[in-house]
Symmetry: none
Subunit: 155 residues, 2 copies
Amino acid sequence: MASNLLAKNKHTILYAVALALLLFLLKWLELKLIIVDNAYEIYMGAIAVFFTVLGIWLALKLTKPKTVVVEKQVYVNNGPKFIINQTEVEKLGLSKRELDVLQLMAEGLSNQEISERLFVSLNTIKTHSAKVFEKMEVKRRTQAVEMGKRLSIIP
Amino acid sequence: MASNLLAKNKHTILYAVALALLLFLLKWLELKLIIVDNAYEIYMGAIAVFFTVLGIWLALKLTKPKTVVVEKQVYVNNGPKFIINQTEVEKLGLSKRELDVLQLMAEGLSNQEISERLFVSLNTIKTHSAKVFEKMEVKRRTQAVEMGKRLSIIP
DNA sequence: TTCGGGCTCATACTTTAGGGTGATTTTGGA
DNA sequence: TCCAAAATCACCCTAAAGTATGAGCCCGAA
């Protein structure tokens, strides 16, 4: 505990001790030079310069380390907010039902599963999907899904 | 040109002038206090403290402007940069080739087209895709693609 | 009311996808 | 060097997807 405190404030303590020593030195110099009493100006100048330098040194040492420039890229994951691109839907001429089918396709459902989900027959789904492919000018459901995502027609 | 130089170094010049003034003050104080010649210690201490503070102040002022923390909030809206989730790939145990196939699947290619793209036979692609489905625990390519996108395995 | 588009469903057929099995060759690492 | 995993390919069979065509129903606009 005590050693911990010592360690943490060791810089401050070091500076305090150094300052005390310097004050002693100053006193000694004063006593020494008091004899040569005509050296006032030099003495004063030396003191001034010395303590100025000391101040600068102290400030530089005790100042917090320079803040480093951190360019942090916070990439927001765009959240779950999906806004369907109605314009594209109309441009393609997709009907509501066709959009439903496309959506379920994108979730990886088979035609059979889609038909069950929508309470219609498998054949109906086939018809819808065929129309979707035709309107989107694609050949496969995977392509339709890919294009649908690119056009923001589906999440 | 000359005014430019003046402007650029105006701080330095200002400090120099201030320092000169202070030296004059010092001289004046010296002359004044020389009479009261028993005030040496106080005088010295004052000088020391004053110049220390001056030094600290100088250091703080002259120090390069603290590097400003540029908090760059670049929120990438779904940016075009895709970083593959290697962790998930390893978790699933997908091999390089399997990943290739999955990627091309996601682009909407048929097995035939994928085989042509990768210069292998259709059967090979079938084998790869079967392994992909098995490892991803899905039944169809559309599901594999959907899951792949969710896990950031594919763009 | 007529007409067209959307939705539904069906039948028949072709193509593609996927499952299962087995085999050979490459290759990266112990 | 030797092994395990990866990669390659083949065959057979079933399931699902996709194509083509036709038809009935409903609703809203002309």
